[in-house]
């Protein structure tokens, strides 16, 4: 039997595959159609201090081998998440590790949510979202300056009962100083990558299709950018990386792991195929067997940092 287990700070995962934040709600919907215990973990939708309505519709558009989204962090707020969403997951999937994606407008918001959500018994790690391109405040602002990212990380790490993974933005000139600053500030690991900023225009109206004008580009189209950034961060840090960006097959997952990722999140692929995650997990043993491997750890060895 192939051993798919991987261990990261806070996360002892039976396999490295988890749905990406924002693409799987709080598990309830996909849970109607398959047993979520098949998953390594779940990264839940971004939690903010107050409930958020998000942006106006249309919120999604399709692009070649990709999609744009400008959901704008709609979520019911930390109170409802603590009182309804996380307990539902704990009741139905007591063994399933949850990673809580946290967002906010201000440092105080982030800190408050981290403190509270990290106390939920099934939240095993936090994914600090400093890279959402779809909100006017917070999000990207914290994610594009090493100093701002470090200050925020430090404050969140200080109040969190669980390891904090920082989700970095690909929309920067150089990700390395940001990753280094975040590592020095106490992050347990990185989550790479959030979406690229993109836009689509309807030639008929000559106006952007998304109500928010711009949106985050995800899906296979961005996989080469994700691999480059994972490889770049791996070349300067030994911290674990949750890799994501365009993964839809077991081969994609291994490609990101070869670049330096220790676990894999799957976002957009869930929309093409609602069973993308369990299918990918089921396919991993055969994919590893192609390389004469029977456990994932031997594959996932971080590569030498040889990047430019």
């Amino acid at each position: 039997m192939t051993d798919l287990a991987v261990t990261l700070p806070g996360l002892a995962l039976k396999n490295p595959i988890m749905p990406a934040s924002g693409c799987f709600g709080f598990g309830q919907e996909y849970g109607r159609y398959y047993d979520l215990n098949e998953l390594g973990a779940i990264i839940i939708k971004a939690a903010t201090k107050e409930p958020r309505l998000g942006n106006a519709t249309p919120r999604v558009a399709e692009t070649p081998s990709g999609m744009l989204n400008a959901i704008g962090l709609q979520n019911p707020g930390i109170e409802v998440i603590m009182q309804e969403k996380l307990p539902w997951l704990a009741e139905h999937y007591p063994e399933l590790p949850i990673i809580a994606n946290v967002a906010g407008n201000t440092e105080a918001d982030y800190v408050a949510v981290c403190e509270q959500i990290s106390q939920a018994p099934n939240v095993h790690a936090i994914e600090l979202n400093i890279s959402c391109p779809n909100v006017a405040h917070g999000g990207l602002e914290f994610g594009t300056s090493p100093e701002a990212a470090a200050t925020l990380t430090k404050a969140c790490v200080a109040v969190s009962q669980v390891p904090v993974y920082v989700k970095l933005s690909p929309n920067v000139t150089d990700i390395r100083p940001i990753a280094q600053a975040v590592e020095a500030a106490g992050a347990a690991g990185f989550s790479l990558i959030n979406t690229l900023v993109g836009m689509q225009i309807d030639p008929k109206t000559r106006q952007p299709i998304l109500a928010n004008q711009t949106g985050g580009l995800s899906g296979p189209a961005i996989k080469p950018v994700a691999i480059r950034l994972i490889h770049q961060v791996r070349s300067i840090s030994k911290l674990p990386i949750i890799g994501m960006g365009g993964v839809s097959t077991a081969a994609d997952a291994l490609e990101l792991m070869a670049a330096g990722a220790n676990a894999i999140a799957v976002g957009t692929a869930n929309f093409s195929d609602p069973f993308a995650c369990p299918k990918l997990i089921a396919a991993l043993p055969d994919e590893l067997a192609k390389y004469q491997l029977t456990d994932l750890k031997s594959f996932g060895l971080p590569q030498e940092g040889t990047h430019d």
């Binding site: 924002g22 693409c23 799987f24 709600g25 919907e29 996909y30 109607r32 159609y33 398959y34 047993d35 939708k45 409930p51 309505l53 998000g54 519709t57 249309p58 919120r59 999604v60 558009a61 399709e62 070649p64 081998s65 990709g66 999609m67 989204n69 959901i71 709609q74 899906g219 296979p220 957009t268 869930n270 929309f271 093409s272 195929d273 609602p274 069973f275």
Partner: protein, 262 residues
């Protein structure tokens, strides 16, 4: 666990009006309980298109194990679909969403079905199910022109149809709202249930006119990603409290009139 995905075989495809296709998909989805107004979400057979395309279910035939969709070619996905040959196997999610409530009606009651353009397809299955219950159905349909009309015979078999066309080439000249005012002014009292699907303007016209009707429903469209309620792409706000948002794919696509902000 609920079933969700079916591999259906494209068994027939016909262009029934300019750019409007009738598509027959055969497979076990047809055996599921399907409420009129529910929809399917189809993986277009193209490697570059990721998002599924939602379509209302226009007809369910359990005997031939076949559902029928009616769709307009508007972009890349529907173009590829329209060029897919008989025999193509398609991954189809469904039945999705909540359909039009019909259980409250009994034989002999009257229903008004209002539709426009490509909002009309799910109203066909609705009208069939109402007819099967013995409900009398009046249809009011809007089209751009006479040439754009499809399924006229199908609907006439299910009950009278009043047409409105923008240019007056067939039936009433003007949009459906005006036709309603002109010929169905007493609709609120005359019909035990009212059902609508179509473009935004039509839905607003219906929502305004029948906001107090206890049994009036509209079906909404929005760009979708997951189709099952997980991604928050397709939300709409509640009228009575716009800080509450419902998901069109999962809480809808059918809502009561006066319920949501269109």
């Amino acid at each position: 666990m609920l079933p969700l995905e079916y591999q259906l075989t494209l068994t027939k495809q016909t262009e029934i009006a300019p750019s409007i296709y009738e598509l027959c998909l055969t497979g076990d989805l047809a055996q599921q309980p399907i409420a009129p107004g529910q929809f399917v979400d189809i993986k277009i057979p193209s490697d570059a298109l990721l998002l599924r395309r939602p379509f209302g279910i226009a007809n369910v035939d359990r005997q031939t194990n076949t559902i029928t969709l009616l769709y307009r070619v508007v972009g890349e996905g529907t173009t590829i679909l329209s060029e897919s040959p008989v025999g193509t196997s398609l991954s189809v999610l469904g039945p999705l969403g909540n359909g039009y409530p019909i259980d409250q009606l009994v034989a002999g009651q009257n229903a008004l079905i209002i539709g426009g353009g490509t909002g009309i397809p799910p109203l066909h299955e609705l009208s069939r199910q109402l007819n099967a219950k013995g409900v009398h159905v009046q249809h009011v349909f809007g089209f751009a022109t006479k040439a754009a009309i499809f399924y006229e015979d199908h609907f006439r078999k299910l009950g009278p149809v009043a047409y409105a066309t923008n240019n007056g080439s067939y039936g009433y000249q003007g949009h459906v709202g005006l036709l309603l005012d002109a010929q169905f002014a007493d609709a609120t009292t005359r019909y035990d249930a009212i059902y609508a699907c179509g473009p935004k303007g039509l839905l607003m016209a219906v929502d305004n006119r029948f906001s107090e009707h206890p049994n009036a429903y509209i079906s909404l469209e929005e760009r979708m990603a997951c189709g099952i309620g997980a991604c928050y792409a397709c939300v709409t706000k509640l009228k009575r409290d716009p800080s509450i948002q419902l998901k069109i794919c999962d809480d809808g696509p059918v809502f009561k009139t006066n319920e949501v902000l269109i």
